[in-house]
Amino acid sequence: MTHTLDEIGPVIANGAGPGASSLVDRRDDTFATALANDLPVEPDPVEARFWSFYSLFLLVWWPLALLMRIKPLLATRRVDARHRVFWRTTLYRAIRRAVSMGDGASGTWFLGVTSIYIGVLFAVHPGDWWLALAIAGGVLGGIFTIAAAGYTALRVQTPARFAETLLDGRSMPEAIRVTAFLVRELCLASLANLRALHDRLQRELPEFEDVDSRNTAKVEALLDGIAEKRAMLDVALSAYTRSLLLQTIQVERVQALKRALASRLGLPRRRVCDHLLQFSPALFASRMRKYAENWQTLAHAASRRYANLDRPLRRRIEGLLRQNERIHAKLETRVAAQDELLDETNTPLLAPICRIAAMHSSSGSILRYAWLVAAVAGAARNVMKNDAASRRATFERAIATLRFLRRKHRAYPGIELHDSLLRICDRAIGAPDRDDDDVRRRKWEVARLALAGSDEHEPQETVGCLSELGLLVEGYVAKCRGEIVARVVDVMRAGHDERPFGLVVTTGYSKTVRQAIRESIGVVRDSEVGGERETRVFVLTSDDPREEEEIDTRQMVFELAEPHAGRPVPLAVGTGPSHVLASLLRPGEHVLFLIGAECWSDTLGLRVVHPRIGHGSLDSVVREVRARASGCRVVALAENYKHREDLLAEATVFRHHLDRLVVHEVDAIVTEDEVLATRRLLLAVLAEPSARDRVTALVREFTAWRGIALDVAGGDEDDDSLRDLVARHDVFLQVIVEPRPRGRRRMDWLARGQGVAIGMGKRHARIDLREDHDDWRVALGAALAKLIAVP
C-alpha cells in the first residue's frame, strides 16, 4: 500500500486524524530519515544497476549487432550484383549469413529484445509528444523486428528442423495444406525462372516464338538463331542454372516436409508424393536440371549446320524441344494440383482422405469412399435445392470436388477404390432383383454413370442418387460379407479331408475375415468338436523385428479378442512370427490360412493380391506349414467386385502399391456367390529320367494354362510318403512309360486316397504311354482334360 501525499497531507494539514494515528505506532531514529528527506532523491540503487546494465547493453550491443548485419549484407549485395540475382534472394542470403555469424538460428532475437528495452527505457519517463512518438516507434519497431526475427529464425533452420517447426501442433489437413503451400511456392518460383528464360529467348530469338518441334525448317531456323546469339543463350542459361542452385535449399525443405508429413500421417513417403501431393521433390529437381541441360545440348548442336547433323541426332534435338515443352506444361499442372489442395472447398476432405490412406480393410475403405462421395453430393443437393440460380455452378463445383476426391483417394494402399465402386454398381445393377425395387436400381444406374463421368442425367437427379450412394454401398457390402461368412462356415464345417481345422491362421487386417473367424470358430467348437479340441486362432506377424507396420496385426488381434454379439466368451487369439506358428502345430493337425484379398483373379490359377507381411511372403510360411502339418489350406475371402479378368496384366495395381501388396496363390477363394477352389494335381511318372522330364514338362504346361497347382512325386511305390501326398491332392495322375522299369510292382495304393477337397471329389487316373508313341502331348492333354473337367 503506497502512502500518498493526498492521503496523508490533508490529515496533517488539518490536524491529527485516524490516517495519521495509524502511522505513529512505531517510533525509531528519525534523524537518518529526515536527512535523507532533505537531500535530493536519487534513484534506488537496485534500479540504478538495472538501468546501467541496460544502458550498457543498448549502447554496446545495438551498434554491434547492426554492424554485424549490415556489413555482410553490403558485401553480399556487391558480389551478387555482378550476377544479376534477384534482390530478394540476396537479402535473404545476407540475413541468413549474418544470423549464422551469431550463436545460431535465433541470433536476431537480440534485435527484437533490444527494441523492447528501448521501449522500456522511454516508457519509464514519458514526456513530450516527440518522445511518445519515439516510444511508440520503438515498441512497434520491436514488435516488427520480433516477427521478422522469428521468420528469419525459421528460414535459417536445417530442412528437417524447419519441417518439424512448421508442422508441429498442426492438424492433419493443416499440415497437408502447409506442405502444399510450400510446394506451390517452389513450383511458382521455378515457373517464374522458366518464364524469364522463355521470355528472354523469345525476345532475342524471333524464331523461338513459333517453333514447332515437328517442323524441321523451323527447328533449323531456331538452331541458326541460337548459333548467332550463343553468348546471349549462355548468359541466360547461366542465370537460370544459378537460380536452380539457389532453389536447392527450398527443394531440401520440401523434401523434409514430405518426410515429416508422411511420418505424421503414417503413410509411406512415396504414396504421399505420388497421390496426396502429386509432387516429388527429387523428380522436380531432376526435371529442372534436365531443362537446362536440354538447352545446353541444343546450343552445342547449333554450332554445326542442322542439315549436316545425323538423322538420329536431328530427331533427338526435336525430342529435346518437345521434352522442354512438356516440362514447362507439367510444372503448371503441379501448381494446379497444389491449388486444389489449398482450395477451401476441398479442405474438409483432406482428413477423411488421410484416414482412407491409413486404412487396411478394402471393403471398409470402399465404404468410406462411398460415404465421402455421398457427402459431397449431399452438400451440392442441399445448395441446389435452396438456390436455383446457382444450380449449374454448384453442380460443376461438386463434380470438380469429386474429381479431386478421385485423384487423392489413390493414397489408399490397396486397389483403386473408385474402380471398385464402379464394379459394385455394375454388380448391383446386374444382380437379380429380389426386392423388385426399380427405384433402387435406377439409383444405382444413375450413380454408376455419374461416377464414370457421364452427364447424361439431370444434375438434381445425379446429386440425389450420389448422395444415397453411401447407404446403398453399405447395404451391398454387408450383404456380400454376410454371404461370404456363411460360406466360410460351411468350409470350416467340411474341414480338410473331413477333419476339422485345428488351427486357423490369418494375417493383415480384414473385416470379412474377422467376422468369418468369429462366427465359424464358434460353429466348429460348439457343434463339430464338441469341446474336445478347441480351434485356435493365430494372427501371423512379420519375421522382421524392426518392422513397424504392425498396426494391421494389432488391430486384428484386438478386434478378434473382444467380445461381440452372440459370443460373450472372447476368442483365444495368439500372435507372432512364423517360427512361433511352427512351434504351435500339433502332429496330424489341419491348418487353415484365412486371408482377405484386395483383388483376385482365376485366369491362371487362383491368385489374390494381399498385403505383404513385412518383407517376407505368406507363401514361404505356407510351404513351411505344409511340410509340418498333415493338411493345409489357403483360403482367401473376397467379394466378386474384386475380381479382375487378368490380375497379372494390370500393371497399375503394382505400380501404385508395390510397397504393400504381394500376389499369392491360394487353394480357394470364397466369394458371395461360390467357392472357387484350386485343384492340386500330383504327378507320378514311372519312366527313364529323360522320358520323365518330357512328361513332366508337358503336364506342367497344361496345368499352368488351366491354373492347376502341380506337384511331382518320385513315383516309387515303395515310398510310403507318396500315400500321404496322394491324400493331400485333389487329382492324382500316374504316367507309366513303356518299357516299364524293372522291379515295378502294381501300385495298388492308388485307391486308398481319402482326401476330399473343398467342393471337389478326389480323382485318380493312370496313363500308359509307349516310348514310340507319336504325340505324347495329345495323349496327355486328352487324359488331363477328362480328368480335370469334372469339378
Binding site: 497531507g9 535465433s106 516508457a123
Partner: protein, 110 residues
Amino acid sequence: MAGDACEVLERAIRANRAQVAALTAGAAILALVGVGIDLWAMLRGSLLAGLGGAALVGVALVPLRMAQRTRRETDKLAVFSAALRAGLDPQRALEVARAFAGPGTESTRR
C-alpha cells in the same frame, strides 16, 4: 504537533522506500528471467520461447511503473516533511509538496 506530523511522514516515507525497493527488485528479476529465456530461446532456436521471454520483459514494466509512482509520492511526502520542518504553514506546505513533481522531471528542471 509538527514533530508528530514529521514522525508520521517519516514512517510513511520509509514504508514507501521499502515498497519501491521491492517493486524494482521484482521488476529486475522478471526482466532478467525474460532475458534468460530469450538467451535460451536463441540457443535453442525456439520461436515460442523467444516470444515468451520478450513478453516477460514487457511484463516487468508493470512493477517498474508502480515503483516509479511510489517513488514520486515518496518525494512529495519528503518535500512536505521538509516544508513543515522549515516552519511553513501546513496548508502552504501541502501546496508546495503538491507542486513538486519529483527530481529529473520537467517541472523541477524549470
